[in-house]
């Protein structure tokens, strides 16, 4: 057991995988500096810089994977995927289906996501629901260092394209690069348990598609991913004083969804509250409700999500992103505890 920061954990697990598998190559913009520890250990033939040409290098990762490499390709932010969407939407996601299951695309796309540090609506989106919508893509959103490293190995074992989304508020490096820039004059609401934590000394892969019950409760099931998990846990603590015992289910993987874990908990509590930093409409929060409804489980439902373009102003941003007050109010309303 050792203690690592979130991004350190991902890099540590990735390094372990790279040392055991020469096919793994890492590339993306500024990767020689952002992943310099991998660069000086594995050399510039495996850790490569790219020009600002997302559609080219993401598209190239797809066919490199088809031809035997195992690329871990990095985007600066998931928002910038918009520039290169063809590579995922029409290429990576389709090859296995089009080839009749005979050809697969084992690759990992690593991208920071999420807001809470005041960088504005083109740099703080979550977009996991948008990506999970596409058949053929696997979407992983870890919430702790231990999960992040284990799921990186899980993603590398998966024989298909995996989006590995790292929340910037959890990442010590992205908070520094994009948020504080070395300043001590700015503060963000960083969940301590997600930012730094114990990890195994030798990484073992975590299975893709398995949710984890972070906290058990009989009145209400709160379902979330990423930073939302920590917000939900904090809310669960406060809700105890309202006499509400809330369970918190960390999905860890958005696609495939752990339908069994969701249904099991909601069947028990009868109340489902989805906390999703991604956009509310047509996304994860509605999907979770559909899964429970399809299973024929009677339940009451509410959600706390991002409904608009994320505003730049910190004060407005804190209101738009799921926060403790909104989660607590929604939970109380769902259970008829409004006064």
């Amino acid at each position: 057991m050792k203690t690592l920061h979130f991004t350190q954990a991902v890099d540590d697990a990735l390094a372990q995988a790279m040392s055991g598998d020469d096919r793994i190559v890492v590339f993306g913009e500024d990767v020689p500096m952002t992943r310099r520890e991998l660069l000086v250990r594995f050399g510039p033939k495996r850790v490569m810089s790219t020009p600002i040409s997302e559609s080219a290098f993401l598209g190239a990762a797809v066919s490199a994977a088809m031809a035997g490499l195992h690329p871990v390709v990095e985007l600066y932010m998931v928002d910038f995927l918009g520039v290169a969407m063809d590579a995922l939407l029409n290429e990576a996601a389709k090859v296995e289906a089009f080839s009749g299951g005979k050809w697969t695309v084992p690759m990992v796309v690593r991208a920071p996501c999420g807001g809470g540090y005041g960088d504005g609506g083109q740099h703080e989106q979550s977009l996991w629901g948008w990506l999970a919508h596409i058949p053929g893509l696997t979407v992983v959103v870890p919430s702790t260092p231990a999960d992040a490293g284990g799921l990186m190995l899980g993603a590398l074992l998966h024989d298909g394209p995996v989006l590995f989304l790292e929340h910037k508020l959890l990442s010590e490096t992205y908070r520094d690069y994009l948020g504080s820039g070395g300043r001590r004059t700015v503060q963000y609401d960083v969940p301590a348990a997600g930012e730094r934590g114990g990890v195994p000394s030798r990484w073992a892969p975590l299975p893709i598609g398995k949710a984890l019950l972070r906290c058990d409760g009989s009145d209400l099931t709160m379902v979330s991913v990423g930073v939302g998990v920590h917000r939900a846990l904090e809310a669960a603590g406060r809700l105890q004083t309202d006499g509400i015992r809330a369970a918190v289910l960390d999905l860890r993987t958005v696609s495939p969804l752990d339908k069994a874990a969701i249904c099991e908990s909601v069947a028990h509590t009868g109340h489902l509250l989805v906390i999703d930093e991604d956009y509310e409409g047509f996304g994860l929060s509605g999907e979770v409700a559909a899964v429970v409804a399809e299973a024929g489980i009677p339940f009451a439902y509410a959600r706390v999500c991002t409904q608009t373009t994320i505003p730049y102003a910190r004060r407005l941003e804190d209101q738009v992103l799921p926060n403790l007050a909104r989660i607590r109010a929604a939970a109380r309303a769902l259970l008829g505890r409004e006064r």
Partner: protein, 339 residues
């Protein structure tokens, strides 16, 4: 061309961004902050010649463009402070500035100013003959497909677009291959635009080139690409990690290089030759950034122009006093009601 009015534009922009730096340091401006210090000659040489009805597509480094185009400093400051009475109601922030009345729009997505300027120019051609559109971007953006496609499209449609490449030789931490300059000219010419090159530190050169280009654009002779070299005096953005490491080596280097050497020596990984090749990339990038930090006074476009105006110290002093007073009072007004 009046060097005094150009100097006033540049000085005003510099003072404004110095004020922004202080507010950012104090934590009153959140997220990243990309300054245009060092590129004032390019911005002034171009923006000073825009006419009513001309449009601007501005990148993530857009404060100078908006200020020089006539947006009040108070509106920009209130925006960056996240106030409801800011230019964009506190919702955009410095990377996403918009002014409909000036036909000026920003994007934080690298290369996105290309298509934006093409559309502005198409509307200009149909609705406002004789007007034009400018796209501002850095040299790294020229590797972005959408920008190259835009140059080609503008040439196919003979649109009045001035593509302005503010070339500082860095794409965050990535530097172009040697000889990339001549490649740029061949690439741009191949896409069908007329290529011009000037010293971006010399406002008179920029102004002359922009004047000639705009004359040709307004008479419908197709797009022009202006390459102007400059240095970003503040690095890629405030708190730029490479500059921090060089400026405060005692604070930053031990943790950075300690872990780096640890990774270099870790068992399992590349050959010593590969590891050393990786280490050389890290060292040469850091060295190149440190050389840039030691920029000489004549690489500052303001100092250069000021030297040519120093024969009239009285007028210079009066001008600078006026600018200082204007920006100071704008900052004081902007701070009203800000905690």
């Amino acid at each position: 061309m009046d060097p005094w009015s150009l100097y006033a534009m540049m000085k005003r922009s510099r003072r404004f961004e110095e004020a922004v730096t202080r507010l950012w340091d104090q934590g009153l401006i959140s997220g990243e902050m990309h300054l245009g210090t060092g590129e004032e000659a390019i911005m002034a040489g171009v923006v000073s010649q825009l006419a009513p009805g001309d449009a601007m597509a501005v990148d993530h480094r857009g404060s100078a463009a908006f200020l020089m185009r006539g947006v009040a400093p108070l509106l920009l400051l209130r925006e960056m402070l996240g106030c409801a009475d800011g230019l964009c109601a506190g919702r955009g922030g410095h990377m996403h500035l918009f002014s409909k009345e000036h036909l000026a729009a920003s994007s934080g997505i690298v290369g996105a100013t290309g298509p934006a300027a093409v559309g502005f120019a198409l509307a200009a051609q149909r609705l406002r003959p004789g007007t034009l559109a400018v796209a501002f971007f850095g040299e790294g953006a020229l590797n972005q497909g959408m920008l190259m496609e835009s140059i080609h499209l503008a040439s196919q449609w003979r649109l009045p677009v001035l593509f302005v490449c503010k070339d500082d030789g860095w794409a965050i931490t990535t530097r172009p291959e040697p000889g990339a300059g001549s490649v740029m000219e061949r690439r741009v010419s191949g896409l069908g635009a007329r290529f011009m090159e000037v010293d971006g530190l010399d406002v008179q050169q920029v102004w002359q080139a922009a004047r000639e280009a705009m004359g040709s654009l307004r008479t419908g002779r197709g797009p022009v690409f202006l390459r102007a070299r400059c240095i970003h005096l503040g690095g890629h953005y405030l708190g730029y990690a490479l500059h921090r490491a060089i400026r405060s080596p005692l604070r930053e280097m031990p943790k950075t290089f300690g872990t780096l050497i640890g990774s270099f020596l870790r068992r399992e990984g590349g050959s010593l030759r590969e590891r050393w090749a990786g280490m050389q990339i890290v060292l040469s990038t850091t060295l190149a950034a440190s050389r840039e930090l030691g920029w000489l006074p004549d690489q500052d476009p303001l100092k250069r122009l000021r030297a040519s105006l120093s024969s009239n110290p009285g007028r210079l002093r009066e001008l600078e006093h006026g600018i200082d007073a204007e920006i100071s009072s704008a900052v004081a007004a902007a701070m009203e009601g800000v905690a």
